[in-house]
Amino acid sequence: MREKILRVLAFAAGVGILVFLLKFFNWLPLMVQTDSMRGYKDLEEARAALQIRTILVPSYFPHHLNWPPSRILAQRKPFSAVVMEFEKMGSKNTMLLISQSTSEDFLPEEKIKFAQVKENVAYSLKGREAFLRVGVCQRNEPCSGISWKEGESRIHVLAISTPFELIKIAESMLR
């Protein structure tokens, strides 16, 4: 029995070393390549670290959302991308997600994911050709999303809200 316990402990120690090595090798690229995806405290820090000239931020902001963003993720390589998540006041639920990226395929929609898209229409957003999606999210809440091309970047705005409020937010990001 004692031998069995010792072997289990030795196995646990071996696995522990493996976990440590994995954590180390997961951390190493962040040190070597400073412009890979990571979290930032605020937009200024992200802008300065990655030298991203323009980050679109809404000037209209619904009252029930917290400012500043609860999470800011950004990278410059392999392509430039910024993600901002906004939580509902007094809760930890993400209600608004804004992403801007030079990759067409980048869409980190895991926090606000459509369970069902009811309408998918073209929409003119201050002269930009945008696509508007309206539907319901996972907890059967109404949600909507809009995306358009701004210069080299693809902008996605997703919100757990009606399309009217979403459009107001999106329009406030443009001059």
Binding site: K4, R7, V8, A10, F11, G14, V15, L18, V19, L22, K23, F25, N26, P29, L30, V32, Q33, S36, M37, R38, G39, L73, K77, P78, F79, V83, S103, E104, D105, F106, P108, E110, K111, K113
Partner: protein, 330 residues
């Protein structure tokens, strides 16, 4: 689609994650083998099977459990995020992912030419094998040697060839071929041991598990970890066949001597060849082959230590650790 976007797509993630999952599984299995001092080839083979089978299913199963597993948020909190390495650029110019995919491509080429083509050729040639051989029952020496071996389920043929030839073919009824040259090199007991070893291969080739295992291995044709571990499984299979042969003949030393005579003596002619890349690679392969044969001989001469626990506790524990750890490897 950009290359980096392909890596984040389902097929790209499957390829990348199956590689990392097999590498982690191989490391965990190695720890288990060392900690429990597992020497029984059957138990070792069972553990190594995890490295081949697990990565085939891991990605789709994990994605079914949590569809957000490949998301940016999950990756940021993961134990290991492969994209951090694959997106890195050497000297700010060459992305590491190109090197990574080059390794996978070379692995696929090695698999194709060193494993798949020889196996297909062997299967094709076995089907209409018209080798002119004398049946063992009609060959007095071989009939005498094999008379008390329970090898009725395979046909044994003696080929008129001065070279040393010994091989078996599988199929509905397996066949074992040995040459008259081999009968001059090995003594009676050694021939019995060699035939019993080949018979073990014929018997084992009928197990559906091995056919399924090869199919899993084919699915992982691009995976260098699976390539290496599959070769270890094959080596363990040789040891299992050694054990079966010994159980039939009750003479481990005869099999050890037969291995020595068949595989170690003839390699001596390779000394002092000109140094070319091809020769060096061949020498390396021969060296590794020699090490395997020597380890089998040592094992047979020391006595086979297969007693003790069947390794089920270590197997279950290793599977649990592999399952849990790999969930956080994206």
């Amino acid at each position: 689609m950009e290359f980096s976007a392909f890596l984040n797509s389902d097929p790209g993630s499957y390829i990348v994650q199956s590689f990392y999952h097999s590498a982690i599984a191989a490391a965990v299995i190695e720890i288990a083998i060392k900690v429990w001092g597992i020497r029984n080839p059957k138990v070792r083979q069972r553990l190594l099977l995890i490295v081949i089978i697990f990565p085939v299913f891991s990605f789709p199963v994990y994605q079914a459990i949590n569809p957000q597993r490949s998301s940016v948020s999950f990756r940021l909190d993961a134990l290991f995020d492969s994209s951090r390495w694959l997106d890195m650029e050497l000297w700010g110019v060459v992305p590491i992912r190109y090197g990574f995919f080059l390794v996978l491509f070379l692995t696929a080429v090695i698999f194709f030419f060193q494993e798949l083509v020889p196996i297909l050729r062997h299967t094709y040639e076995s089907k209409d094998l018209g080798i002119p051989g004398v049946r063992a029952e009609e060959h007095s020496l071989t009939a005498q040697v094999c008379k008390d071996l329970p090898v009725e389920e395979a046909d044994i043929f003696v080929l008129q060839d001065d070279g040393v030839v010994l091989f078996s073919t599988t199929g509905r009824k397996g066949s074992i071929y040995l040459s008259s040259g081999l009968l001059h090199v090995l003594d009676r007991e050694q021939v019995r041991a060699a035939v019993a070893h080949e018979f073990a291969h014929v018997m084992r080739s009928r197990r559906p598990l091995l056919v399924a295992l090869f199919l899993f291995r084919v699915l992982m044709f691009f995976n260098p970890v699976v390539l290496m571990e599959f070769r270890r499984i094959v080596q363990e299979d040789e040891k299992i066949c050694d054990d079966i042969a010994v159980s039939l003949t009750r003479n481990p030393n005869a099999l050890a001597d037969a291995l020595r005579k068949l595989y170690l003596v003839e390699e001596e002619g390779t000394q002092g060849r000109t140094k070319t890349l091809r020769n060096e690679m061949e020498s390396l392969e021969l060296y590794s082959h020699r090490l395997n044969i020597e380890s089998r001989i040592t094992r047979l001469e020391k006595g086979i230590a297969n007693a003790g626990d069947k390794g089920w506790f270590a197997t279950v524990l290793a599977i649990v650790v592999v399952l849990v750890m790999n969930y956080f490897i994206v």
